[in-house]
Symmetry: C2
Subunit: 346 residues, 2 copies
């Protein structure tokens, strides 16, 4: 038993060929269903392979065939469900295709991660689908110039991009709060990398359009804990906002915890809007109003775009935008004074 573990030379196509009494070429052909192999030979080969325990060696195959078959997926943070959904979507659209999917997750929260992207390059993926939120446009363009790259959840001019209209989503979120009667609406976000700017810009623009003063609070990371810290300072004093629109649900939950620690009740004392419409947002007792960006669809579309790019390297850049949707739940309500005003009327 124990001895078997000692890695005896792996079974190769050569071994299969000898067993069947044909050449290596035929074996190679047989596996890829290439034409030019009689069905009898193919049967014999497949059967012998099975019997001998032959396993295809993807690395060797890629090396020999010059054009790499793997698709790399670069994600920022698996604790954020959006990225998990993107992953699921990409995988789904790669199903059936002959491409392996290699996942690489950024190490660092809040800064550019060279290492994770490098690992994809060194794995010689033929194309990478990347959530490049922390990189500058310039750097992404440079990357895209050196290898096929599909941008997901972000738009960059001249680079294949599959994204959700952040501007529309952020505007909808902010307007929802304004319509409820809030005037002191703050925005909690994270480090201001180029990929993360749309939402805060749209928030600020919407506020200004309404004649109000934007108030942007920047947490030092895109984590609950960082949002908590940032919100703890924001939510005290007479001038504290009556509503907060957070960059995403993760941050919104941090704000929520901070509010509760300060004995502020949501939505009575503070209205809260997140972004992503994660499963947590839907839980009873959380009921977080949030913007759904359909991450699964984004992933599917990105996967399809990658396949298309691989098939046609010369095609013009894809620019595929989709519309997010505001999902109103119970974390938002009219501010206290307006609410009582409403009551009087009611």
């Amino acid at each position: 038993m124990r001895e078997e573990r000692n890695r005896q030379r792996a079974v190769t196509q050569e071994d299969v060929a000898q067993a069947v009494g044909v050449s290596r070429t035929l074996v190679s052909f047989a596996f890829r269903g290439a034409p030019g192999v009689s069905s009898e030979t193919r049967q014999a080969i497949l059967e012998a392979a099975q019997r001998l325990g032959y396993r295809h060696n993807a690395a060797a195959a890629d090396l020999a065939s010059k054009r790499p078959s793997a698709v790399g997926l670069f994600l920022l943070d698996l604790r954020n469900e959006v990225f998990v959904d993107i992953f699921s979507g990409v995988r789904e659209s790669l199903e059936g295709a002959r491409n392996r999917l290699i996942l690489s997750v950024s190490q660092s929260q809040g800064t550019v991660d060279e290492g994770a992207m490098d690992s994809l390059v060194e794995a010689r993926v033929g194309i990478v689908i990347a959530a490049t939120l922390f990189d500058t446009d310039e750097r992404v363009k440079a990357l895209a110039a050196s290898m096929p790259l599909v941008n997901v959840a972000r738009r960059i001019d001249g680079v294949d991009s599959v994204y959700s209209d952040d501007r529309a989503g952020a505007r909808a979120a902010t307007e929802h709060l304004l319509r409820l009667g809030h005037t002191r609406v703050a925005h909690v976000t994270g480090p201001g990398a180029e990929g993360h700017l749309e939402r805060r810009r749209a928030y600020a623009a919407t506020m200004l359009d309404a004649g109000l003063t934007p108030r942007v609070v920047v947490a030092d990371e895109y984590t609950q804990e960082a949002a908590w810290r940032a919100a703890s300072a924001l939510l005290v004093g007479a001038e504290r906002p009556t509503a907060v629109f957070a960059h995403n649900d993760e941050l919104a939950l941090g704000v929520r915890e901070a509010a509760h620690a300060l004995r502020l009740s949501v939505p009575r004392d503070l209205s809260l809007v997140g972004y992503d419409d994660s499963r947590i947002a839907r839980l009873h007792g959380i009921d977080l109003t949030s913007v759904d960006l359909h991450a699964l669809d984004l992933g599917r579309a990105a996967g399809a775009a990658a396949l298309a790019r691989l098939a046609n390297p010369g095609a013009p850049p894809v620019d595929q935008s989709s519309n997010p949707r505001l999902v109103v739940r119970r974390s938002t309500a009219a501010p206290a004074h307006v609410a009582s005003g409403t009551e009087h009327r009611g």
Copy 2:
């Protein structure tokens, strides 16, 4: 601009060697910091590589060097934070080591996934760390016989195993409920694969020890939705349990939603205990009593075990158990009648 995308032949060590005026060997050695290269030559090589834009080709390297450097990680479900934590832990302990980490995620919720494991085999990883919960002991043993394998979050005799003591955790959870005065305590779990049995067994044993009747409800998947469906049937009628211990937080949240839909309040009408101590459990308004199995540590330990196995293939199997910890929050309380009894006393 656009033309650059056309994959011109990649820069190889050969190119670097020619540029510097040395042999390929030196270049190869220089990159791996192998001895036998003068520091001047090394400098020149590294610099030329930089200038030419040379990227190491991991696939070719692995192919040439017989002993594969990659570690495969097989995970069941990225939507379950436990697995994300395991991933983080594994990666952490591989940091510094020269091993690439290749992640493979099971496709199917609830059944064995051959494909995902195969992809690891075809990537020719040197060892795989696997959360094999859905496989039979027998199958895992067979796999482990054909290639180095470290079991994580599960114990299998004769196979490297790094796990948390599920029996102790489940017993602690059940006893916590019994001590609160509950007698009708149900257990909600998922499909009964061998890797998932410890908790329900410990629950049942604990109930029997206390002279009570176990009641195990099996959802058809390990998802919130499935738990919701299962719990909807469980939580009606006069004989409905006053407490539920769920296999994990994911299922517990499904039970919680079902309870709320039935207008049962947690913990007043139903006490609830989960398992995993996920971040969601800690949120204000959720406050789920749960068992922390320290998934991050599990991942770290599994990574270390994999490295150790790679370094010493002949060593006896690792059997490393750790103790989970019950974290009591506000989702558990004495059952209604006992609670009022307590009030009288107080």
